[in-house]
């Protein structure tokens, strides 16, 4: 299936989602991410592989990007959840896709996004007693080296 077809299917099923302008990424309200995820896991979409979870700090919001693929159907979809810096809670997908376990821990570690329902939400790359969330744009550390001049 082509990305726009997939987007259409999801949109027809869930009216609350919308497509990001210019791309085929689907923006899902954070309340319904679990619902949408459940749906795309099963046929007809059959996204059996949660390939990648990442965060993007847009200053005014933090995006959590989920990249799904289907091994059987040879197609993929990207879901996005926008979170405001005040409320960084989102439902964990680790019950549905086991791969989400470590990927969500990484996003938690680097962005401070809290995945509610995650079985073991600890830091993963940084030491367990680390302070702050390094990949946020406002994170500062005396050891940082400034951007090289161009």
């Amino acid at each position: 299936m082509r990305p726009d077809e997939i987007a259409a299917i999801i949109k027809s099923k869930f009216p609350q989602v919308k497509e990001e302008a210019g791309t085929n990424y689907i923006i899902v309200p954070k309340e319904s991410i679990l619902e949408v995820a459940q749906y795309i896991k099963n046929p007809p979409l059959g996204m059996d592989n949660l390939h990648c979870i990442t965060g993007i700090d847009r200053k005014e919001k933090i995006e959590v990007v989920y990249t799904f693929y289907s091994i059987g159907e040879h197609h993929g979809v990207t879901l996005k959840v926008n979170l405001t810096p005040e409320d960084l809670n989102v439902a964990s997908l680790s019950e549905i896709w086991k791969s989400a376990n470590w990927l969500e821990r990484e996003v938690y570690d680097l962005f401070g996004v809290i995945f509610s329902g995650h079985p073991d939400l600890r830091r993963i790359l940084n030491p367990y007693d680390w302070q702050g969330y390094p990949l946020r744009k406002n994170y500062s550390n005396p050891d940082f080296i400034a951007k090289p001049r161009m």
Partner: protein, 373 residues
């Protein structure tokens, strides 16, 4: 102190820290094992000892400046990392590269795949206690590849050969002759490995039916690469989502049957044969022409984002790049294959012996450089 209670006898569980300094954790991986005698009751991996904040560094480097950092991700398959990164950037820039560069990239990537699988094979046999001999044999073969790489880019480990828009330099006739020689040299050696290691009785006894990863579990855990194929899933990006010129080349995707440690190992051995086939065909049909497209010194992709993944020796390496119209990536996420492959380990090792955890870990061929990033 909790103990497993049996009818009358009970044995004390004890905790053992395997790593971060241990000969067979393939780097600075630390496994916290809870043992009952020699049987593993629970396993908790601790990673991050090699965390170098690659993703944060990327936000402070230009697109071109970041290429050398990708060498240090999966340092035994640097060429493939370079390739994945530059192709992601090219996708962001909508850049089409020359035909000859595509073929060269395929040749180099496949050579590095062989080099990487050689290390996987050697260290796996070493983990199973075949002390150093298979490792030395594998390094002897890898040396030939490293020499070729040394000639084309001047480095033996951190190659920095791929460029946005092509490759660093053209392959000279001399190097192509060397690669052809290597193919002739390597073919019988792979058969040798089959004879020496693959069907050795002890080797079979140690690795068959150990760490069985089912198809469903492999997909659910997003395990990729030879480990996924070892579980019997016929999935290879080079075939299923062809990039470069893989769709013009003929090769098979080897798959395993049971998803045990031996299958994963065997898939790697077969992939070496397939890679040799690919290189041979690519050299035969190598077109003439330029190897680089002029892209200018300053790259300023538009404010957009892209995700691109390639088939690395260890699985699918993905780069999620977000540009904001400046010369720096706004955000660069590295989706490393070993990270997801390692996540399945605790599930597989429950109830097996300490000796087997080494076998399972070795068969997954994880590399801490790209797990910790």
């Amino acid at each position: 102190m909790d103990a497993t209670q049996t009818k009358e006898m009970y044995t004390e569980e004890f905790l053992i820290n395997m790593g971060p300094q241990h000969p067979s954790t393939h780097g600075v991986l630390s496994l916290e094992l809870k043992l009952d005698g020699e049987t593993i009751r629970n396993c908790t991996p601790h990673i991050g000892y090699l965390h170098r904040s690659m993703e944060k560094i990327a936000e402070n480097r230009t697109f071109t400046q970041f290429i050398p950092f990708t060498d240090r991700l999966d340092y035994v398959a640097s060429m493939n990392n370079n390739l994945g990164y530059v192709m992601a950037v090219e996708k962001l820039l909508n850049l089409e590269i020359s035909e000859r560069a595509k073929y060269i990239r395929v040749i180099i990537a496949e050579l590095n795949r062989i080099a990487s699988h050689l290390i996987a094979t050697g260290t796996f046999a070493q983990d199973l206690g075949a002390f150093a001999t298979p490792l030395f044999y594998c390094f002897r073969e890898r040396e030939k590849i490293v020499e070729i790489f040394d000639q084309i880019c001047g480095n033996r480990l951190t190659y920095n050969y791929m460029r946005i828009g092509g490759v660093l330099a053209d392959l000279s006739g001399e190097i192509i002759e060397k690669i052809k020689e290597f193919i002739e040299y390597m073919r019988p050696k792979v058969d040798d490995y089959d004879e020496l290691i693959t069907y050795n009785v002890i080797f079979l006894a140690r690795s068959k039916h150990i760490g069985v990863l089912s198809k469903e579990m492999a997909i659910n855990y997003s395990v990729t690469g030879p480990n996924l194929r070892g579980s019997g899933v016929k999935w290879d990006l080079r075939k299923d989502e062809p990039y470069l010129v893989y769709d013009k080349l003929e090769f098979d995707i080897p798959v395993g049957e049971n998803g045990d440690a031996w299958d994963r190992y065997k898939v790697r051995i077969e992939e070496m044969r397939q890679s040799l086939r690919i290189i041979e065909q690519a050299i035969e049909s190598l077109p003439q022409g330029e190897v680089t497209v002029r892209v200018g010194r300053i790259l300023k992709p538009s404010a957009s984002e892209t995700y691109f993944r390639t088939e690395n020796p260890r699985g699918e390496l993905g780069f999620y790049i977000v540009g904001d119209g400046s010369v720096y990536p706004y955000r660069l996420k590295i989706r490393s294959p070993s990270f997801s492959n390692l996540a399945v380990l605790p599930e597989l090792v429950k109830g097996i012996k300490v000796a087997d955890i080494v076998c399972v870990l070795g068969s997954f061929d994880v590399l801490m450089g790209e797990i910790d990033r």
